[in-house]
Symmetry: C2
DNA sequence: TTGGATACCTACTTTGGGGTGTGTACTTGT
DNA sequence: ACAAGTACACACCCCAAAGTAGGTATCCAA
């Protein structure tokens, strides 16, 4: 995995920054292009690694595991591996990750509202928003 | 301003991707480290360029205008410049940008819930979440 | 005339996020 | 004996995003 440099200017005095803006805290956890999308696909329940890959055809394997590992390290995602061959690994949301459901829901909600204004809307409504179980 | 390459693999067949995952649509609009943070600071009302700079001490000027310009181009932010010297430019949320309030609110909410678990919580509650006017 | 105030612009450089491609471990099926 | 299936690991490379550092325009006040 690619290491993260701790000395960049962005990392400077993070504590104080967080106090001023809780959003900064969120961005440190899920602030990348892929993470929210991965989390979105886990909202409907646990998924195998291969299932996630199929659900996101345009993500590279490297990005997928890399972000899964980080989400796991950040306590948002749980990895369960069965000791069998061929391997069987499933990923699911932790309680903390599950807490992001409303965030993602509101994002989807905004996307739909915002998209209606354009010529050819892509989504219709929120009926298809993933429900757990 | 830095140009955006339209031919990257990520851009490939975006239409179909959006249909599968509305979150992808959102990430294209506000999916960067700084954008949600900038939007957060505009939730309480219009702000001058210099005010935003002060509110985000660790952002570079380049990043600030660059993202402001893109947010403006994406119709999330409105720029109002008075023709005086020294210049007076204020930024505010458009209706579309204002629609992100709930998203940002839920983010802050999650940050607070999530943060309570740690040793030294940074935020207390949502009373300080910016209200318009 | 010099400097401050404001909101930028524009080179140049760096960095790390992301892409490509290959390899691996172990078992089951043919 | 070999390929297929699964979930990765690793090395190499590229480029866009972010950082650094300087400059600009215009007016006014000292």
């Amino acid at each position: 995995m690619t290491e993260i440099k701790k000395t960049s200017t962005i990392q400077f005095n993070k504590q104080t920054v967080f106090k001023l803006c809780p959003i900064t805290y969120v961005m440190e956890k899920i602030g990348s292009y892929w993470k929210p999308i991965i989390l979105f696909h886990l909202l409907s329940g646990s998924r195998r690694y291969g299932e996630l890959k199929k659900a996101m055809p345009h993500i590279t394997e490297k990005m997928l595991i890399q972000h899964l590992k980080q989400l796991e390290a950040d306590g948002l995602v749980l990895r369960k591996a069965l000791p069998i061959i061929p391997p069987n690994v499933t990923y699911s949301l932790t309680k903390s990750g599950e807490g992001l459901r409303t965030v993602l829901y509101e994002m989807a909600n905004w996307a739909i509202q915002n998209d209606q204004k354009e010529d050819e809307p892509l989504f219709k409504n929120l009926k298809d928003f993933p429900k757990l179980k």
